[in-house]
Subunit: 130 residues, 2 copies
Amino acid sequence: MEQSKDETIIERCDCVEVHSDVVDRIRQEMPEEETLYDLAELYKVFGDSTRVRILWALDAADLCVCDIAALLNMTQSAISHQLRVLKQARLVRYRRVGKNVYYSLDDDHVRSIFEQGLSHIREDHRGERG
Amino acid sequence: MEQSKDETIIERCDCVEVHSDVVDRIRQEMPEEETLYDLAELYKVFGDSTRVRILWALDAADLCVCDIAALLNMTQSAISHQLRVLKQARLVRYRRVGKNVYYSLDDDHVRSIFEQGLSHIREDHRGERG
DNA sequence: TGAACATATGAGCATTTGTTCATGTATGGT
DNA sequence: ACCATACATGAACAAATGCTCATATGTTCA
């Protein structure tokens, strides 16, 4: 999906005139390539409705895989796969309790990220900015 | 990528015991399916490093397509395609100035969403929560 | 130890996604 | 009108993604 993260810099822009002063300034101000890559990887995790629903549910209560599957009306396997993704992104943690494995949120930012997103979605977007 | 958004509810969970009290409560508390779907769609837009870099650049200055392509060392076409995605998500706006088209951020939440994301990434994650 | 339940995981597959390439559209200069 | 420049867009293709199915692992209980 992504391009190679770091490659030799070749001018591929097929334009002639570029505001090189601004571009150069921004190039310096931009965070490291890797940081922005990691950032995108994080949002990619949020970019699936199944995972969003799981996160939302776990924000309400700790749940075992079985509960989540029932709640979302999906197979246990599908949920388990997604939980692995969330685990790898360090957004959830788990603990075993007998035969069950309970998952819970492992990040304080999830809620605020959701809030910002909702805020954007709910904007009527009449055209103004500030 | 997604499943069908709304379908007849069939119990697909292959477990036997479910904490149905908790599940039922959460099911009621959860936002509408569509809201969470839209939320995921928004994050999906953030879930690509090219788009993240574009947004970050536009947060620093308004830029024409040509500038962005030069800055990110990508083709004008690739940038243009991505700008369309950002436009559809109402994250950027544009204005024509002669032959150029200048893009700018069209959302106040972009920066705070980035900040939350960065905050998560930068966590040392030693195991504690709050 | 073996059966039953809960969860994890690998392979396979259909769908989605991001880029490239070719071409279309819009604006300005001559 | 014509050309050059800037940008947009459709088709095509490789890579990534999310689910299903089958199966493996782990735990409890008899």
